[in-house]
């Protein structure tokens, strides 16, 4: 019997460290390091995630056939970082100090770190950052061919790329439809997906960094809170769109250049300076200060601009690498409002965006690239769920509850669904912890806080009393896949909550807690194959209430990574105003909890840095 091929993909040292383990072309484990270290967007070497992956797979480092890193560190440092340093000199001393410390001690020693941390002696591979993104999407899209667009902050030089992916033609000549010859050359009878990057836009011109810069200007945390700006946008009007055009020169083909006099990230420790304050007419908002209409208008203007540029990019991409299918990746692809707009444009029949679309997805991308390029591995089926992380048995959960000395009730599978769906009616908020943890930034039904979408008050309650986050933040719905069309202006499944569509006008009053101020919703659809228990829960809720939609938000408080273990979930439950907690088959009721264990909110929240 042949030894299985295990490939480990890694991303780290920037933000969102993660590891992905592939066995013979099947993803068997994927997780971000932040879930283990409890530090949001943790950038450290993903030791804990790797340990969990090996434990899950029952392997050791000796079983690993190849390890991949999600970018090319030497290009990034010797080309971009140093050239930029020379360019901005004599400015940028402090940025240079921080960067050099980081690069000299960590980032220039990737193979050494991998070998030292893991005791690994085999091959280590590197692919460009945006190629990792491209593979992370196309490699699990299930498409035979696709137009690929990746947009993020920055990789080595590239900040946005257009590429082409094909599973039946040589990568060097993507347009030649001659899979037979190619397959024979490779000595395999199966089509092997490959990706070719055709065009790039280079640093410092970056749509992702523009979005981050305005996020910073609005007083939110960079590389973390961009989604808040997207959520804030519908409250505003695009009054500053014309002024923002001063920040960026956009060509008809979607290419763009930033006007760098308004940005300081090339040489400073801040994203923007006085020039942008002068242009937009107000100083930068202080973090945690009140949000005014001005800030909402800025957010809306930025969002409109981003959508406009993304539309131009995908239109051009379709022209130079035509396909009916579009694969999106990179941090900007988490902008589900822009994704929804691209979908509605009808440019592409199918759109695929995998759930860890940001840098955490780079770990998946490089693992797939190794599988396809080094092992001529067969094409993976479409990834249609994200449950690749840790899971805990009922025994482990019970042990945790006994150690914590809290009262609980164990229910049968059917009893649990019936009880939880009944409790969800009205104003109860439930922590829902089941099965394997999700890969990527979204909780999709295994590490979620859920509530009745029909009750508008639940929106405020979850925001202010459970998540302790800004009141403007909207909640996403999970809808039974077969009922998407009943509630939303959307004709296809969206399992990763990465598409925004309008709620039908006649349904907005029925599900007000998940209908944003502009009538839209960031939708997650679910079918029984993807997540049996979560589907059954919503189905049971639908049978009781007639409503096939619930609120689904991530199981955490503001600034906290999504919970990973029963201990994390219990802590979060005890320190918030959540009413019930369901851990596997166990039900905990807040009012039954011992008084000395509940609501040490201040101590709990202080552990996490606000985003």
């Amino acid at each position: 019997m042949n030894k299985p091929v295990y490939i480990l993909g890694l991303s780290c040292y920037y933000h969102d460290s993660a590891c992905v383990l592939i066995k013979d072309g099947e993803i068997i484990f994927a997780a971000q390091e932040e879930r283990y270290t409890r530090k949001k967007q943790d950038d450290s070497f993903p030791n804990e995630a790797i340990k969990a992956a090996f434990e899950y797979a029952g392997i050791t480092i000796e079983d690993i056939s190849a390890i991949g890193f999600y970018e090319k560190p030497f290009i990034k440092f010797f080309d971009r970082i140093l050239r930029t340093t020379f360019k901005v000199w004599p400015r940028g001393l402090m940025q240079y100090q921080y960067a050099m410390q980081d690069w000299m001690t960590k980032k220039l020693w990737i193979p050494q770190s991998i070998r030292k941390e893991l005791g690994y002696k085999g091959d280590i591979f590197f692919i460009p950052h945006h190629e990792s993104h491209a593979y992370s999407s196309f490699g699990v899209s299930g498409f035979d061919d696709a137009t690929i667009v990746t947009v993020d902050g920055v990789g080595e030089w590239a900040t946005a790329t257009i590429g082409y992916g094909c599973a039946e033609v040589p990568s060097a000549k993507c347009q030649v439809p001659n899979s037979e010859t190619w397959n024979l050359e490779l000595g395999t009878s199966k089509p092997v997906p490959s990706v070719k990057i055709l065009k790039e836009i280079h640093y410092p011109h970056s749509l992702g960094l523009l979005y981050s810069a305005i996020t910073y200007y609005l007083g939110f945390k960079v590389n973390s809170a961009e989604y808040k700006v997207m959520g804030l946008a519908p409250y505003g009007e695009p009054k500053y769109l014309e002024k923002m055009r001063e920040l960026i020169d956009v060509k008809e083909d979607g290419s763009f250049a930033l006007n760098m006099k308004y940005f300081t990230y090339e040489h400073g420790l801040r994203m923007t300076g006085r020039a942008i304050e002068k242009l937009l007419g107000q100083p930068r908002r202080k973090p945690e200060s009140d949000l005014e209409q001005f800030h909402k208008d800025i957010a809306r203007s930025l969002q409109d601009l981003t959508e406009e540029v993304m539309m131009k990019i995908v239109t051009y991409a379709k022209k130079i690498s035509p396909s009916d299918n579009l694969c999106l990746a990179g941090g900007v692809s988490l902008n589900c409002v822009a994704n929804g707009k691209i979908l509605r444009s009808g440019l592409f029949k199918n759109i695929y965006i995998q759930p860890a679309s940001g840098d955490a997805g780079g770990a998946l991308g490089v693992a797939l690239a190794i599988w396809y390029k080094q092992f001529n591995g067969a094409k993976l089926q479409q990834m249609n769920h994200s449950y690749f992380g840790d899971e805990f048995s009922d025994d482990e959960i019970e042990k945790c509850l006994q150690n914590a000395d809290v009262p609980f009730l164990k229910l049968s599978d059917e009893g649990l669904i019936d009880r939880a769906s009944t409790l969800m009616e009205g104003d109860n908020v439930i922590g829902w912890f089941q099965g394997r943890m999700e890969y990527g930034p979204r909780a999709l039904g295994n590490r979620s806080i859920i509530a009745d979408a029909r009750n508008k008050d639940n929106w405020k309650k979850v925001n202010l009393k459970i998540k302790f986050r800004e009141s403007f933040r909207p909640f996403a719905p999970t809808v039974l896949e077969e009922r998407i069309g009943d509630y939303f202006d959307l004709d296809r499944p969206t399992p990763f909550m990465l598409l925004v569509a309008d709620v039908h006008p006649d349904k907005r009053d029925e599900i007000p807690a998940v209908t944003h101020v502009d009538g839209s919703a960031r939708i997650q659809s679910i079918n029984r194959e993807q997540n049996e228990r979560y589907y059954d829960l919503i189905k049971a809720f639908e049978e009781k209430t007639g409503c096939g939609v619930i609120i689904n938000t991530s199981f955490n408080v503001r600034g906290e990574p999504i919970v990973r273990s029963p201990e994390d979930a219990l802590n979060c439950f005890l320190n918030t105003h959540m009413d019930y907690l369901v851990l596997g088959n166990y039900l905990l009721t807040k009012r039954d909890m011992p008084e000395d264990k509940v609501l040490k909110k201040k101590d709990y929240l202080e552990q996490f840095e606000l985003d």
Partner: protein
Amino acid sequence: MSFIILTILWLTLFGIYAIIIKTISAIKKFPSLFGGGARGGYNTYWVDPLSEVPNGMQDQF
């Protein structure tokens, strides 16, 4: 690496090289030597990627 050593490097090696590069740029009147600051005068900002090197996946560059 200490703050002082890095600052000395910044002032000497980096400074000299930066001045040379900036001088060459100024002489050539080539505004986008570093890919920065370009605005107007272009039909597109898309550029071609670096060509792939055989077995390039094993290299960090």
